[in-house]
């Protein structure tokens, strides 16, 4: 310390990569590089996550007192509606596919870009335009129909900004469709030589299954919203019973998309976990093919179960029976994944880095979310639990405990590749623990509340429910702190973090065989794949391998 060296540090110019290849806002807003578009999505969905999260904060503050602590009941209705719309359509659905999928799919298949780079940029612009309509609706007075837009709340009897938000969701759907289309074509047609279907990383299988749902399901949501908008704007009867329309038809069409949409959120997270678990167990994944096929099975079966949202709506009892049985069937491929991850851990050399903590958290929380889903798939228990906080807790265990944990795990796993920098592992582990504790404290009490009969979507509740509600609100505070920490140290690491080597985790997969961050063209030479995925065994730590040039 006392003798400072006067010699100037040798300034090594960073090699050219996708981040320093060009500067200025034009180079970002007009880019067709999939990696830059992934970062555009990362920033945008983080923005919407903060917006959606702040609605949740207001709700949890309001519910600390039985008579409501903060807002008018009308405002409360708008809060839960906008929380749902923003989080589902503008954060969860684009989260892993549009950020990590965009960044990783071309790298993982060994290609220079997605099949249609300009279409990819267009998807982001479409998403942003949809987002602007939604933000406008929030500022211009909000929407109070619930994120499900059930008619006739949303048409005949609506006096809020349903049109603007419907246009927003309609437009954003096309972003999702085009992204899915791009992924399917890329995975089919642009795999590097030697990368057969059964050598692909399981993340790609998950993204592929997700894309099928996006491509087949989202157009149905679009036409449903189109019909809803017609009914609302021209005051004509399509779903309105007063004019001979059938409100159940709206629900059928809506859930035909919106149930599979749950799998759009959870399947990519499962793909992330399938990457992390083998890497930090130093073991090949147990039962590769069955895990791959279970993704496709979830995508296919997911289209046949929408009626379980309508057990108590007047749907025929026989339809209910069939939907119930099919819903139980979806549990099978989901459980296969959980068992196979667990079997992968067995006798593995496990290390508890931050991505692994998120992945292990995912397995626990997803299992709870999945098993409580079976309560709701059973007709008799659903009659008791439907419309209560039990449902709220169930789908938050899937969407937040599952999808968001998977997303954060993926961000932490691939952050060195994305940014070229490392983050402080201690802070990351601490944040993962805080999120896990905060999450359970927030949502476990809601299972109990729901079982005891507290209905969802009410601004008031009987005083005996106050203790559990205060617990939930306290947990939400912890959860919020947990989300804030990664935001801070990840931004910090972009400038001050230690430089990351190409393969800091010693992981397999083509994305680790190029520089961190990758050059704009991804690979100097298109790689040739000559090994199975997850070739971790029997070496204790896999050495980064050179792809044989040709």
């Amino acid at each position: 310390m006392s003798t400072a060296t006067l010699e100037p540090q040798p300034r090594v110019r960073a090699p050219l990569n996708y981040l320093n290849a060009d500067y200025g806002w034009r180079s970002w807003l007009f880019t067709v590089d999939h990696k830059r578009i992934a970062l555009l999505y990362l920033v945008s969905i983080t923005f919407f996550f903060v917006i959606g999260g702040s609605f949740a904060v207001l709700m949890r503050i309001h519910l600390t007192e039985p008579q409501g602590a903060l807002v008018q009941p009308e405002t409360y209705n708008k809060l839960f509606t906008l929380h749902g719309i923003v989080m589902i359509f503008f954060f969860l659905i684009p989260s892993i596919p549009a950020v990590l999928g965009n960044f990783l799919v071309p790298l993982m298949v060994g290609a220079r870009d997605l099949a249609f780079p300009r279409l990819n940029l267009l998807s982001w612009y479409i998403y942003m335009v949809g987002g602007m309509f939604t933000l406008y609706s929030a500022v211009a007075g909000g929407v109070d129909t619930g994120w499900t837009f059930y008619t006739p709340y949303s048409s005949t009897y609506s006096n809020t900004q349903v049109t603007a938000v419907a246009i927003g969701v309609f437009i954003t759907g096309f972003s999702s469709i085009l992204t899915g289309l791009n992924f399917i074509v890329t995975i089919h047609k642009m795999r590097a030589p030697g990368l057969t279907w059964f050598r692909m990383p399981l993340f790609l299988w998950s993204i592929y299954a997700t894309s099928i749902i996006m491509v087949l399901g989202t157009p149905v949501l679009a036409i449903t919203i189109f019909l809803l908008a017609l009914e609302h704007l021209f005051h004509v009867g399509i779903f309105s019973p007063a004019l001979g329309g059938d409100p159940l038809l709206f629900q059928h069409l809506f859930w035909f998309y919106s149930h599979p949409a749950v799998y759009i959120m959870i399947l990519p997270a499962m793909g992330v976990v399938s990457e992390i678990i083998p890497c930090f167990s130093r073991k090949r994944i147990f039962g590769y093919k069955i895990v791959a096929f279970s993704s496709v099975a979830i995508a296919v079966l997911g289209f046949l179960v929408w009626g379980h949202h309508m057990f108590v709506t007047g749907q025929s009892v026989y339809a209910g029976l069939i939907f119930s049985m099919l819903s139980f069937l979806v549990a099978i491929p989901s459980a296969i994944k959980v068992f196979n991850w667990t079997a992968t851990l067995y006798k593995g050399s496990i290390s508890y880095d931050a991505p692994m903590l998120y992945a292990l958290g995912f397995i626990g929380l997803f299992t709870m979310g999945g098993l409580t889903g079976l309560f709701l798939a059973a007709l008799a228990t659903d009659v008791h639990l439907n419309g209560t906080y039990f449902i709220v807790a169930h789908f938050h265990y899937i969407m937040v405990g599952g999808a968001v944990m998977g997303y954060l795990g993926g961000i932490h796993f691939w952050w060195p590749k994305i940014s070229g920098r490392k983050y402080p592992n201690g802070w990351a582990a601490l944040a993962a623990a805080i999120i896990f504790i905060g999450f359970n404290l927030t949502f476990f009490p809601q299972f109990v509340l729901g079982y005891l009969g507290m209905p969802r979507r009410y601004a008031f509740y009987p005083p005996e429910f106050q203790v559990l509600n205060v617990m939930s609100s306290a947990g939400a505070t912890v959860l919020g702190v947990g989300y804030l920490i990664p935001l801070i140290y990840l931004i910090w690491s972009m400038r001050y973090g230690p430089i990351a080597e190409p393969n800091p985790w010693g992981a397999t997969g083509l994305e680790w065989k190029t520089a961190s961050p990758p050059p704009t063209e991804n690979f100097a030479e298109i790689p040739v794949v000559d090994e199975e995925a997850y070739d971790y065994a029997p070496k204790p730590i896999a050495q980064p391998q050179e792809a044989p040039g040709d």
Partner: protein, 228 residues
């Protein structure tokens, strides 16, 4: 590197692809997938139509009889003709005949324009007869007599679906016309060769799809109840 780039410029090979074959396969799969999304999009509409036609058959039959089936039939022939000229322009592009490609593309546009013109005449008739739900709904006289047996409000439902389905179809036609115009401009500049004609093929597939939608719309909307 410059040789490869120059070649890419000449052949229309985009940077993300290894060769033209890969690019063509990707383009083809891309447009077929897009058409799948279109089928799901129209599918939701057709399913809703089917349910209400089943519930309110008499009203849908009455509504159908208000339409001018001669105009609908003419439009069907016009659109089938445009599919023929579209197919011929793809063929001309494949054989590298620039003039024929341009001529057939323009012919397709003209036929598409005739279709939209006739559609406009039909829409205008609906305003004259006051059977436009939401904007001008006051059927009277003979029109009312046709709708009355099935219930006038259910007849309104028929016309909602008539306008939603034909309107979305017409919107797809207008988009297709724009794409055709873009092709004409590019084809005249000699952008397409016997080795590179993917855009013509892709737009052709889209145009045929829009045609097929009409092939379903015509009997579903115009020919209910066997009046002939």
């Amino acid at each position: 590197m410059t040789d490869v780039e120059a070649q890419a410029q000449h052949t229309g090979l985009a940077h993300q692809f290894q060769d033209l074959e890969q690019q063509q396969e990707a383009d083809a799969l891309g447009i077929w997938l897009f058409l799948v999304t279109e089928i799901m999009f129209f599918g939701g509409l057709f399913a809703s139509y089917a349910i209400y036609r089943w519930l309110y058959f008499a009203a849908f039959e009455g509504g159908s009889h208000i339409l001018d089936v001669r105009l609908g039939a003419t439009n069907t022939m016009v659109l089938l003709g445009s599919s023929l000229t579209m197919a011929l322009s793809v063929r001309s592009a494949q054989t590298g005949s620039r003039r024929a490609t341009v001529a057939f593309l323009i012919a397709t546009m003209v036929l598409g324009g005739i279709f939209l013109g006739i559609k406009g005449v039909e829409y205008n008739q609906k305003f004259v007869e006051h059977v436009v739900p939401g904007l001008d709904w006051a059927p009277e006289g003979e029109t009312l007599a046709r709708l009355a047996p099935g219930g006038v409000e259910h007849g309104e439902m028929y016309f909602i679906f008539y306008f939603a389905m034909t309107g979305l179809h017409a919107l797809h036609m207008i988009i297709g016309m724009g794409l055709l115009l873009w092709l004409v401009v590019r084809a005249r500049k000699g952008a397409f060769t016997a080795h590179y004609f993917a855009p013509v093929e892709v737009v052709g597939l889209y145009w045929h799809f829009v045609d097929i939608v009409w092939i379903f719309l015509f009997p579903l909307l115009y020919l209910i109840g066997g009046r002939y």
